[in-house]
Amino acid sequence: MEAFVAVLARELRLAARRRAEWALPLVFYAVVATLFALGASPNAPWLKVAGPSILWVGALLAALLSLERLFRGDYEDGTLEQLFVSPQPVSLLVAGKLLAQWLVIGLPLTLMAPLLGVGFGMGAEVIGVLILSLLLGMPALVLTAGFASALVVGLPRTGVLLPVLVLPLVCPVVIFGAGAVRAAESGAPADAPLYFLGAILVLCVCGVPLAAAAALKNALD
């Protein structure tokens, strides 16, 4: 547990020193949402309909772009090897890193979404569901992307490979996440998709650290 906290604290300290790491995804998210609005005719009614989908996919892409280098720096400077020679289980340390990533990247995006939601004409209740859905879904996204970036950590340039690996895997998260918001918008109860999101999150929390640790081990072998 101490090792978990130590890894978490280290990641947070690093992120605090490199502000661009968590600030730029927010800018990216806002720009993408704006571009969608600009692509439509001004105040087009379909924009309100497509809002949940746009906000979800935007958050997903913003998180993905910043997660490509999740393990890269540690791989290059040897920190990763240190993690592997430590007596702690690697999956626990990886879980610490992923939790830090969610705090640094996932959580700010979650808090940013309501602002953009106002722009897409969402009411207070819908925004509440949007926040809830992102709170449950974003960690699952970060975990899945963390697994994929562990797979490709040894590659010099991954480019578009990471999104290609991650996006099919996170289809259910987008379906239930945006689905919850859409349900709220149409006045229906949104708890069913939120429960599904919670279930997916539990599955990811249990499985992904193990899979990611295995992938990292493979890259180091």
Binding site: V152, V164, P168, C171, I175, G179, G207, A211, A219
Partner: protein, 250 residues
């Protein structure tokens, strides 16, 4: 303790497997030709036209077996992936990486034939129906495995990375399937419904089953050849490869 019988160990050694595949290949080819031949003649010529869909229904003889294969090969690949991860058998790695392009081709075939079938029957090439969408996502999963394998240099590391991805994807496939179903039933009213399949007549069914079996043996045929190539490439420089090359020349 001994989970793998001895003969399996021997078969998993590259030269033995190469020879085994060489002996098996002509039989697989023969069986595939017979089954596919009967299926095509029976399905395209002998079976009566459907009372609702007319001659158009005959796409079923390509479409349904291809869709079956797309799922079967993914399961097969995941099985090879588990073997790769647990026992680190080189042969399983080759099987795994050879499965991805074949599976992607069958999935693409299922999608394209489905689109061609959808146009006359549903009036549209594509609809965001649950089954179509999960098949499309399956294609993306296959392409992800293939892309990862291409991107990584070292074949063994690439195979193990692909194995992890395949296992995670395999866990994910049912989740994707049911979430897509949920999404579609919530989202879309029955504007374009799937036609009710009439319980199929024996004269139509037998060719279909024959096609499905034929597709499977054809998959075995292609897979064995791909695995053979992969083994030759990986073991180039080994004496048995030189021997096999010389034997092939004769």
């Amino acid at each position: 303790m001994n989970l793998i019988p001895n003969w399996m160990h021997r078969l998993a050694s590259p030269p033995t497997f190469y020879g085994f595949a060489d002996r098996l290949l002509p039989w697989l080819a023969l069986v595939s030709v017979v089954l596919l031949g009967y299926g095509l003649v029976g399905g395209l010529a002998l079976a009566p036209a459907d009372y609702q869909q007319g001659e158009g229904f005959r796409i079923i003889y390509v479409h349904v077996p291809a869709a079956w294969m797309s799922l079967f090969i993914y399961s097969f690949m995941a099985g090879a992936a588990v073997v790769t991860l647990i026992w680190r058998i080189k042969l399983a790695e080759c099987v795994l990486t050879s499965c991805a392009p074949i599976g992607a081709s069958f999935t693409a075939l299922a999608l394209v034939s489905g689109m061609l079938w959808g146009k006359p029957m549903w009036g549209t090439y594509w609809t965001w129906d649950a089954r179509l969408t999960s098949e499309l996502i399956l294609l993306f999963l296959y392409l992800g495995v293939g892309g990862l394998q291409q991107a990584m240099g070292d074949p063994r590391a690439a195979a193990r990375a692909c194995a992890l991805l395949a296992v995670v994807g395999f866990v994910n496939v049912p989740i994707v399937h049911y979430s897509v179903e949920w999404w579609n039933t919530l989202h879309q009213g029955p504007t374009i419904t799937k036609f009710d399949k009439p319980s199929i007549d024996a004269s139509m069914l037998w060719p279909l089953l024959s096609m499905a079996l034929g597709f499977t043996t054809f998959f075995g045929y292609v897979l064995l050849q791909r695995v053979q190539n992969e083994l030759l490439w990986r073991e180039r420089g080994n004496p048995w490869v030189v021997g096999a090359a010389l034997a092939a020349k004769k």
